[in-house]
């Protein structure tokens, strides 16, 4: 009852204020616009020598990487929307935003909502110059959406669906509803050795190391930079 009264009081006060402003002609006084401040405004990466030591890139490669990074994100950090936008430009036919979201989570190792140049370069260092073990680790981390150490069927389904989303509508053969699910089944058949419904990191690495195709394809992008 008292809350009701309080509310009534508040409403009456508001109306009185309104009437006053109506009479004096200041009804549409410009409310102070909240300045949209970019919260993570500026970020300067660590020095070139430090990054050189921490990653496996050469000085020149780091220079090229940073130039491209800074060009697209002058503030020095990528937030998720920009990330999605950039990644979507490579897949014009489909919708790459879901997969970009997973990628973003995988790159944003400290989970602060933005990817700085260090995160970016660390991730790339693993992907391009890391050992097979590290790459597989990274891939497992990508698939494990909630980062609990197990890949469940639902997580895998999300990932696979997002990959298929990137293909878009116009594919051959036409994408059917159950295609991602079938793909997940095949994957689990291969990976889940003890049939417990989840894939652990060891099962994953074991299985991938035994699969020749996967091993070969891991070496594919060595010379990207």
């Amino acid at each position: 009852m008292s809350s009701c009264r309080k509310r009534c009081k508040r409403e009456i006060l508001k109306f009185a204020q309104y009437l006053f402003r109506f009479i004096t002609g200041t009804l549409n006084a410009d409310s102070v616009e909240d300045e949209l401040e970019l919260s993570a405004a500026r970020h300067r990466p660590e020095a070139l020598e430090q990054l050189e030591a921490q990653t496996r890139f050469s000085r020149k490669e780091l220079q090229i990487l940073y130039r491209g990074f800074k060009n697209e994100c002058p503030s020095g950090v990528v937030n998720e929307d920009t990330f999605k936008e950039i990644y979507s430009q490579f897949f014009p036919q489909g919708d790459a935003s879901t997969y970009a979201h997973f990628l973003f989570d995988a790159f944003d190792t400290d989970h602060n909502g933005s990817v700085s140049f260090e995160d970016f370069v660390m991730g790339l260092s693993i992907l391009l110059r890391g050992t097979v073990q590290e790459k597989l680790n990274w891939a497992f981390n990508l698939y494990d959406i909630n980062k609990d150490g197990y890949i469940t069927k639902e997580e895998m389904l999300d990932i696979i669906k997002s990959i298929y989303d990137m293909m878009g509508k116009c594919t051959y053969p036409t994408l059917k509803e159950e295609t991602p699910r079938q793909h997940v089944e095949i994957f689990f058949q291969k990976m889940d050795k003890n049939r417990d419904g989840v894939v652990t990191i060891d099962e994953f690495i074991d299985c991938c190391q035994n699969d020749e195709n996967i091993m070969k394809s891991m070496q594919l992008f060595e010379n990207v930079i």
Partner: protein, 630 residues
């Protein structure tokens, strides 16, 4: 693609490792990195001003002059730089486009000079950023209008072409009186007679003193009835002759009859003829008198002689919605106040507010602050509401009127501009969208050209079909490889819209009649024929050069297409076999095809007959499917 995105390609490719464990098919090998360590500085000397940038920056847009091999034509060996004999001030903006991906339009530059520079460097103006696009389009439109006006003025000053027919001469004389003396004379004569006719209409109602055998005053029209009748006849005859002449001379009579001016002409002369027909009939004389009112419309004939009247008429027409709103709001206010006044004055005795419609008159007179005083409220509450009525009348009427007046020019220009902008925006967005989808289509083309086949077979076929070292920039090949990896991961292929639709259609048709293999085989061939057609579209030399058999008769035929199906013994190899032999023939067209091809959907044509010879041994069955072109 946007500028910086090219720099992110390595990242996207690296992230593709995430697909590897779930891939259902082995990945294609990556393209050879042809130009490693070629990221050097490049010097562009534009009329003495030296610009420097990275080579990679320029290569982001391979379909422009600076991004393609076309710039080699401007290479200057002595100084080891690229020399362009163009305007350095405008070049600055063009170079910024490469750097930032956004093209800006400098407001102080001349629009045609800017357009020329853009055309020279191969940049389409549609990609001008939103910040500058409106200004650019406005300037362009102004320029176009000015050029058009100049042309029109020139045309008007032209001497009469000797081969103009008499009819055309007459029409020209009517429309532009200053072209010949006769026309000018005619123009002034008609003007004079319009004035005379209007004056006569006015004067004949003036009381002219009492007649000799009547007590009351008569109007001049009744006193000098014959004179006025003769005058009227003369005027109407002239107007009729003018109207008939215009009707004869009009290039499109139907359009002329529909036009406002001709309607005014007809309305101006009709009463006379109707009066001629209906004389001495007492019953209809009342109606006859009413018809005479229409004679005042002759004054509107002046609008042919005055440009100002025409503009006023046009602006009133274009401001019709504002006027309509004014009328509507007035009506609402009138009804409200009339009701209030009626009920307020109901109590007082001998009131003039007998009904609500009767109160309308009071409300209108009060709201427009006329205040005749023939109806006044007597009760106090009536007076209170009466004063509120007059105050609100000031508001309701006085406010929209200046707004309408100032809206005349603003709304006129604005509506014109808004519509044009909308039309431009549609086409502009469509072109940008087409350029974007050109990126996707570039990949499909790339596939058809057997680039992927080349990469796959490279290991086995060392004896190079020296497939022409394509001038595709590294970015393109790498991007295509990335898309290819995605295809392999999901075991689905990218296709374009058209074939997707046809395959959808076929799949729905194919289930009862055709075997699964045949339906699968139809689409790739549709694709290949699709793509070869697209290849041909952009090449400058005669199309169909990649068809070995040179069968080109059916290109022109657009009604039906034949897609010959071949059984697919194994999914890729037969395709590869077919593509490989078309690749060398495609090569010469390769340099013309860029990523920004705006490919319009074209109907697929017959498959290259050259494929016949190689895969004839595979030819177990062939079903010909007729698909009608869009």
């Amino acid at each position: 693609m946007a500028a910086g995105v090219a720099a992110w390609l390595p990242f996207a490719r690296a992230a593709a490792i995430g697909w590897m464990p779930v891939a259902s098919a082995p990945m294609p090998p990556p393209p050879r990195d042809k130009r490693r360590g070629q990221d050097g500085l490049i010097i562009l000397n534009v009329s003495g001003t030296r610009f420097q940038t990275w080579l990679n920056t320029l290569e982001r847009y391979p379909d422009t002059l600076l991004g393609s091999t076309e710039r080699d034509f401007f290479f200057h060996e002595e100084t080891n730089e690229y020399f362009f004999d163009r305007d350095p001030d405008i070049f600055r903006h063009i170079l910024n486009f490469y750097r930032t991906g956004k093209l800006h339009y400098p407001r102080h530059e001349c629009i045609s000079a800017y357009d020329e520079e853009l055309a020279f460097f191969g940049i389409i103006p549609e990609i001008i950023g939103d910040c500058c696009y409106e200004e650019y389009k406005d300037r362009r439109r102004e320029n176009a209008e000015r050029i058009q006006d100049d042309e029109e003025n020139d045309n008007n000053k032209d001497m009469v072409l000797p081969d103009m027919s008499f009819r055309e001469t007459m029409w020209r004389a009517f429309e532009n009186p200053h072209t010949s003396t006769m026309a000018l004379v005619f123009y002034y004569v008609t003007g004079f007679f319009i004035a005379v006719s209007v004056m006569a209409n006015v004067v004949e109602t003036v009381p002219c003193g009492s007649g000799p055998n009547r007590a009351k005053e008569v109007s001049c029209g009744e006193r000098y009835a014959l004179a006025f009748f003769c005058l009227d006849t003369a005027c109407v005859m002239i107007f009729t002759v003018e109207y008939l002449l215009r009707l004869i001379a009009a290039p499109s009579r139907y359009k002329f009859v529909k036009s406002v001016m001709s309607i005014i002409d007809v309305v101006a002369i009709m009463p006379y003829y109707i009066g001629l027909v209906m004389t001495d009939n007492e019953d209809v004389s009342g109606a006859f008198v009413t018809l005479r009112v229409f004679r005042v419309f002759r004054i509107f004939k002046f609008s042919r002689h005055s440009a100002g009247l025409r503009i006023l008429g046009y602006t009133l027409k274009s401001c019709a919605s504002e006027l309509g709103f004014l009328l509507f709001s007035l009506t609402m206010a009138i009804i409200i106040f009339a009701t209030v006044m009626f009920y307020a004055e109901k109590g007082s005795t001998a009131t003039k507010f007998t009904s609500i419609p009767a109160a309308f008159w009071y409300t209108i007179v009060t709201m427009t602050t006329l205040g005749y005083g023939d109806m006044v409220p007597k009760t106090i509450i009536g007076k209170v509401f009466g004063s509120i009525c007059s105050l609100s009348g000031v508001l309701v009427i006085a406010l929209p009127v200046p707004v309408i007046v100032s809206n005349f020019s603003r709304i006129y220009h604005q509506s014109q501009r808004a519509e044009k902008r909308r039309a431009q925006k549609k086409t502009r967005l469509a072109r940008i969208h087409a350029a974007k989808s050109g990126g996707a289509n570039a990949y499909l083309q790339y596939k058809r050209n057997g680039m992927l086949a080349e990469a796959e077979e490279e290991a086995s076929k060392q004896a190079g079909q020296a497939l022409v070292c394509k001038s595709n920039p590294t970015f393109e090949t790498q991007h295509h490889h990335l898309l290819h990896c995605l295809e392999k991961t999901t075991n689905h292929e990218f296709v374009d819209e058209q074939t997707y639709e046809t395959s959808c259609m076929e799949v729905s048709l194919a289930k009862p009649s055709m075997s699964r293999s045949s339906s699968m085989s139809s689409s790739p061939h549709g694709l290949s024929s699709c793509c070869t057609r697209r290849n041909k579209r952009k090449s400058f030399n005669v199309p169909n050069s990649n068809m070995v058999a040179g069968r080109r008769g059916s290109i022109q035929e657009l009604s039906t297409i034949q897609i010959r199906e071949r059984p697919m013994s194994n999914s890729r190899s037969s395709l590869n076999a077919k593509f490989e032999e078309t690749v060398p023939l495609n090569s010469e067209e390769q340099s013309y095809i860029t990523a920004a091809v705006i490919s319009m959907p074209t109907p697929p044509v017959t498959t290259p007959e050259g494929g016949d010879s190689s895969s004839s041994h595979n030819f177990l069955q062939s079903n010909i499917v007729r698909v009608s072109a869009l």
